[in-house]
Symmetry: C2
Subunit: 388 residues, 2 copies
């Protein structure tokens, strides 16, 4: 199979731009990705894009051709919707297209416009990622669902709100220098603990914000890199996906995320690496507890042992394995359908050495991205490696 290189990445600033359409955001991200890649958009043979709530936010489905037009590419274009893992799934299928020899150049990524809706409307729109019949009708919202998971975790393994507050504080610290981050401001552990309670045990600062933004990646075959002598040192060497039952009530236990474990296992096997080889990771911290579950599913910690990682300093910028140097969903922001692509973009910058936080991981050669949908009913993991 053909290896898949990241030729270029592009991001919009993540934040509140309610008047900008999803297609406008994606056009900007794509422009930046083409410039970064030094690849002309006419070379693109396929478009794979994530979008989650365009129907509710903009009354726009069928975003494949809409976003192809916005990005100025003329090719088969497919929209992927796997809730918050939409762009992760899009990237995975883009990788498959190149590996299968169906394309040499694929534009992948995603876009989401959210802040043009008010908070109740966004809450309704996000709820379509849960099981309508067995969760949403019963009043479950995502803060509530992750609060159940957090409480189940505390009951099964221990840990407390202070452990979670350290994750929030760490990710805000990481975002300080990230020019694309929604929140470039510090929050202390005490501030996180003092924030209003949303759904016990999760407070306001345990949750990611509502965000507009887009991500774009120019992915190319290795033979294309050679033919055009591109500077593309980062390779996607592993891709894995996992699935679980949508409703929390149907699961065996809710203090673990087996879909992500499946995805990670597959991605590691695909890349021929193990968790011990990973230097740095971007994980799906839609809520602080989700980061804990992620680093356990990625094999960095045994189940029940990830909770104290940030508090102990192991996952901070200068810890043994930094997690979410971008700021994560928590501080960088979470434009749902764009996030999986943003993680790959941030990891690429980290491994290439041109991320403002690259100096914390100067020797890193292996990075992992972890993107999850719903209460991790969908999960996609990618392994990225850099030639140094």
């Amino acid at each position: 199979m053909e290896p898949v290189r990241v030729a270029g990445v592009g991001l919009t600033h993540f934040g509140r731009t309610p008047a900008r359409t999803g297609r406008e955001l994606f056009a900007e991200a794509a422009d930046r990705a083409f410039a970064d890649a030094n690849v002309d958009r006419s070379a693109v043979e396929e478009l794979a894009v994530g979008n989650f709530m365009g129907v509710d936010a903009e009354r726009q489905g069928h975003q494949g051709p809409i976003l192809a037009d916005a990005a100025g590419v003329q090719c088969p274009a497919t929209r992927y919707e796997s809730a918050c893992a939409s762009a992760g799934v899009a990237v995975r299928q883009a990788v498959r297209a190149i590996r299968a020899g169906d394309a040499d150049v694929v534009l992948a990524g995603g876009t989401e416009r959210m802040t043009n809706l008010d908070t109740p409307a966004v809450t309704d729109a996000l709820a379509i990622a849960a099981d309508e019949l067995f969760e949403v009708r019963a009043g479950v919202t995502f803060p509530g669902a992750y609060a159940l998971m957090a409480q189940a975790y505390f009951d099964a393994f221990g840990g407390d709100r202070t452990d979670l507050a350290h994750i929030a504080s760490k990710n805000h610290e990481n975002a300080l220098v990230n020019e694309y981050a929604q929140y470039q401001r510090e929050i202390s552990v005490a501030e996180a603990l003092d924030a209003p309670m949303v759904a016990s045990p999760l407070g306001l600062f345990d949750a990611c914000p509502i965000t507009d933004g887009a991500s774009a990646l120019v992915l190319v075959s290795e033979s294309y890199v050679e033919e055009y002598d591109l500077d593309a040192p980062v390779t996607i060497t592993g891709s894995g996906q996992g699935g679980d039952r949508a409703a929390l009530a149907e699961r065996t236990h809710i203090a673990q995320t087996p879909a992500a474990t499946t995805a990670a296992t597959a991605a590691y096997e695909d890349a021929g690496v193990g968790p011990e080889d990973v230097d740095v990771a971007e994980v799906h911290d839609c809520f602080t507890i989700a980061e804990v579950l992620a680093i356990e599913s990625l094999g960095f910690y045994e189940p029940g042992e990830g909770i104290g990682a940030a508090r102990r300093g192991e996952t901070t910028a200068d810890g043994q394995r930094p997690i979410n140097l971008s700021g994560g969903l928590k501080a960088k922001g979470h434009p749902v359908g764009a996030t999986g692509g943003s993680q790959i973009a941030e990891m690429t910058r980290l491994l290439r050495g041109d991320h403002p936080n690259s100096d914390h991981v100067p020797e890193a050669t292996v990075g992992v991205t972890h993107n999850a949908g719903g209460t991790v009913a969908s999960a996609v993991v990618h392994v990225l490696e850099v030639d140094r």
Copy 2:
């Protein structure tokens, strides 16, 4: 690459079942596909499903895990949304997964619940497949858009409403014996011409109905067929996808569908066949004019020459190349996100010889399916071949 075999197919009856959920419909189709395949559902390694309007009809997104649960499979599950080509795209990615060696058994298909909404609400829901900024706000609906295409065709090439009425009459005739069809009743050319005008030149009988239904396919690798000694004589030998700008106003001409031509060219090349080798086809006749555009894009007719095919008897059941022996979207029905899978299921039955219309094509060895999204801004073509 690994060849992809159709081990089994399953359909629900297409029609009006407003109280049945999309997941319930898919569960029934999947049950039938597993029984037809003689494959246990525990063998499924991936699920690829099309769904278009679940957000509007059921407030349900993230249908990958929802439909995996309904079908009783535990695996990575992805929802594809490319408007009316959603299931076609899902099948295409399922084919890729097997060819890439990522899976030996994939469940593909789609589901749509539509009739629980009233007609104005369905019209709004369908409109998300068009360009919201540049078409929908201007009042364009799909009957209107296809009427523009029909009028442009008549202006460019000639043809009239009687030519279209022959297509409607033919497809209703074909559906008479199809136990899954929404309308098992004849309509004459005179009745079609007398039906109320919807958007000139298209009348009520030029349009497909609003339909609930689901489709499921058990796709397997050739090595899996050999290992388990399955009876799976039909192979998907070609797959192609094309894209175009979403808004009609952005196109060079609207009396042709270049996205489908691209998809067909790619699928033929993939299969190593040409249009002259095709014995039978299922095409996306959401409106009668769409069948004309489809058979031209598939290379059966030059542009401008497909309009009289049904009237001349060339595409009727006993014509030289029968089109839509299932009854097509026009008479079999069009549960949007299920249609691309239904076409593959019907073609499989036709080629295996167990379709009620198989006796019209007893020697057929090559079949083609053509699935389109929006005003053919997305198109997917598959080539199926049978061992005889």
